[in-house]
Symmetry: C2
Subunit: 556 residues, 2 copies
Amino acid sequence: MMKLLIVGGVAGGASAAARARRLSEDAEIVVFERGPDVSFANCGLPYYVGGEIAQRDKLLVTTPERLRTRFKLDVRTRSLVEAIDRVGKKIRVRDLAAGREYEESYDKLILAPGAAPLRPAIPGCDLPGIFTLRNLQDVDRIQQQVSRGVRQAVVVGAGFIGLEMVENLVKRGIATTVVEKNGQVLTPFDPEMTTPILETLAAQGVSVLLGQTAESFQQSPDGLVVRLRSGQRLTAQLVILGVGVRPENKLAVDAGLEGGPRGGIRVSEFLVTSDPDIYAVGDAVEVRDFVSGDPVQVPLAGPANRQGRIAADNIFGRPAKYRGTQGTAIVGLFDRTAAITGASEKSLRRAGRPYRKVYVHPAQHAGYYPGAEPMTLKILFHPETGKLLGAQAVGGAGVDKRIDVLAVVIQAGMTVFDLEEMELAYAPQYGAAKDPINMAGFVAGGMLRGDHPQVDVEAVLAAPADRRPFVLDVRTSQEFSAGNIPGATNISVDDLRSRLDELPRDRDIAVCCQVGQRGYLATRMLRQKGFSASNIGGGYKTYRLFQPKPRGAPAT
Amino acid sequence: MMKLLIVGGVAGGASAAARARRLSEDAEIVVFERGPDVSFANCGLPYYVGGEIAQRDKLLVTTPERLRTRFKLDVRTRSLVEAIDRVGKKIRVRDLAAGREYEESYDKLILAPGAAPLRPAIPGCDLPGIFTLRNLQDVDRIQQQVSRGVRQAVVVGAGFIGLEMVENLVKRGIATTVVEKNGQVLTPFDPEMTTPILETLAAQGVSVLLGQTAESFQQSPDGLVVRLRSGQRLTAQLVILGVGVRPENKLAVDAGLEGGPRGGIRVSEFLVTSDPDIYAVGDAVEVRDFVSGDPVQVPLAGPANRQGRIAADNIFGRPAKYRGTQGTAIVGLFDRTAAITGASEKSLRRAGRPYRKVYVHPAQHAGYYPGAEPMTLKILFHPETGKLLGAQAVGGAGVDKRIDVLAVVIQAGMTVFDLEEMELAYAPQYGAAKDPINMAGFVAGGMLRGDHPQVDVEAVLAAPADRRPFVLDVRTSQEFSAGNIPGATNISVDDLRSRLDELPRDRDIAVCCQVGQRGYLATRMLRQKGFSASNIGGGYKTYRLFQPKPRGAPAT
């Protein structure tokens, strides 16, 4: 009879345990969880702080008791696994409640220890009022601090969890400043795609300090003082550190299991570690990036769940491969949503991989139906084959849908030409006869077929003065005067045919409109009349993404 | 210089015209439209009746004037094309405003005449107060009638447009009865998937008379009397006929172009008719069903738009194929959404094609986040390869997203095994770590791998008494007493391990829970203990879909 031990009882561990029981009614399955809870809703923690999730017990997806009765699992909470004896095939466990140690033998072992929030070695980072966020106990402590009266908060790190915490602190009426060491928020995204997020944060009164780090924390009569590298000092009664996580690899490293360059536990595509009797899943493992093939460390709940399932399948004689992680992620921030799947432009550039890109700015549903909200959708694809490499979207409703569709496109290995042909559900409340997905496909397909030459706005702006193209803005004069690319000439597309003689024949022309559609028509028109014209992809709206407004002053 | 004539200026015709201009700045392009408007929002018409779309001009996606100035198109509205002289390559046009006729020659001709609402030959069907719905003029007439004071309305036909009209009439405070000749509403769907729609209609006070036809219309002091086949008489001041459309094929038939069995104009995959200089697109053409390969007639805006584009591509030297239509469609009805893509179960059964099916009833996003709403998702797939053949969903938010994802899966030729691995965007407001798509994949994959034997609830119910399986309901006793499958025995899954001796070893066991998940665990458990157990797919919730409650009495 198989004896399976699982270290960690949250996403990957709990999935593995439930799957294992379904595959084998008779196996002995023991789950060791360091904390008091199993299978809690990590991704819900910030929303409990904000009050959106009102009851704490909603965060308990299941309980040790439920796992025991329903799945006949031996669940041991507050049990820290301290060492693996690979030769003897046993582990050493510390029972934190009873304070005793014991050994447990295994046939197979699954490691699902997760990842721990980084606590940078900043002077004062252990002062009261400074928290990281991993589990319900962390949230309880944060709630306690908030209930003591927090007027100002500082969130260090503008990643997914950092910004979710920002939203929820603002919803509690707390003046919040976010400090981010990079020059952008949400670093998995390309920087220009985060401009609408910066606007949302500014509109909500959040101060965003980019390119800044916290240098020290000190106690003060008003709570804490956070001193930044710039010398600036922020006062706060609550500090959240959301600067990333590191895989919990100690157990694996001590046992001599192979690790990857980022500290994750190395596993095969069957999720076996370098020891054939030990599997590892979830935030602690290094997986293959589905698009690039590179090893990556992706702490996400969905992949952890699927990995748990796959490890159990393999252990119980159903060989299954994990296809890699494509980094599909989403974050809601007030009325905005930002989502990503596959490769980003910066990751492609960093890796020296060829790509082209397209921006479209459609509404999520038919413009004639009330409630249409604009979104910006960026796709990245191979310059020859058109194979989709990545996608990012930011906007309101419907962003999640388009990124999910494009996640499937990447999984399928489909191209931008396939996007043109997609038959998606259309009624005016839900989409458009030409869905944003189709629109992105039309633009990208037209580009690759040579019908729709495009120029990136960054290239136009970066060109030296003597080689800068003639920028032709084909919007109406009203649109033009409301804001335009410096140096542009305005001739409305509707007047263009009769004013061709005003355009240079000895210079490249970069055509610009609001979102790229009129510019496309104008570009087609001009090229057929012998001009060397290209369309600025995504038009003035894309230009604006590259020109974020300066942020407001911090809420000191 | 190419001279292109386009008959019809709405979805397919307008798309073809705009695309043609982008491809050729110099071509002479003339668009003939019988009505006064081009490119109006057909799909928005019901929402203008209901007041959701408040301004009539919102329905005008573009205007003849805009097409003239921006696209240099010769747009002739109120112009009826009466005949095609294929030998002389010219058409005869009646200018309805001037009352004169003239000829126009062409190099290439695109037919985009659309489809006309059927007006069944029922006595009295031309009485005032009885309307069909195709264009803005129809809506104007309906609005006029409503403004005269309509207390009761009858909608004949419970298809997409019929039900959209029902919703909007109810929103105007009109007591509405819908009469449908089939035994279900929304006939593209499988009947059980429409049960939630019937519930919504009942909750909104709408009377739904299935299996009924209108036999005559008569004037009465209260407006109109609709006499049904049953003899029942309904009083109404407004009647909408929404019983389907027929392709506008007269022009094509008179010109000797080949047609299909359903009256549509026959076209190649390049959208050429039997005359190489004549293309046809939109609701008037017969296309290939992408899943079955059969010829079909699908009057939808998305395909019409794409076809218009493709026809123009082919005419201007960019060979492009139309891949067929997969029947992706969606309808919103009060707070419910129903959507479909690919083949239905009944179409597969009719065609004698092999399939298996799975129902899941997940929430659209994490249950711990407020606002989780249940949906029912049904997928149909090949019994050996697992290739996805079709999908239907009904629920609230998130139905559109899952059907769009599955539409792409069908386009890609992917399988249920691919659904298991999909990495979709998860944060608690948007999805789940195991998305409904993953769940459907897990169940279907488990079924095909033999890990998860399932039985369809219809098969259990239809089995003769002596071969009927032992129905084991593994829900709690509270759930069981709130409603169960007649004859079922209740043992909660949590008690099952200790009560195996109460189960028959000489009989098939059909396990039932609420949505199929506990039933799956119980089935796994029982089979490993030697019982011949299968899980009722989708559990009691699926059973309920097959047991629609009787509808309320009509609002006479």
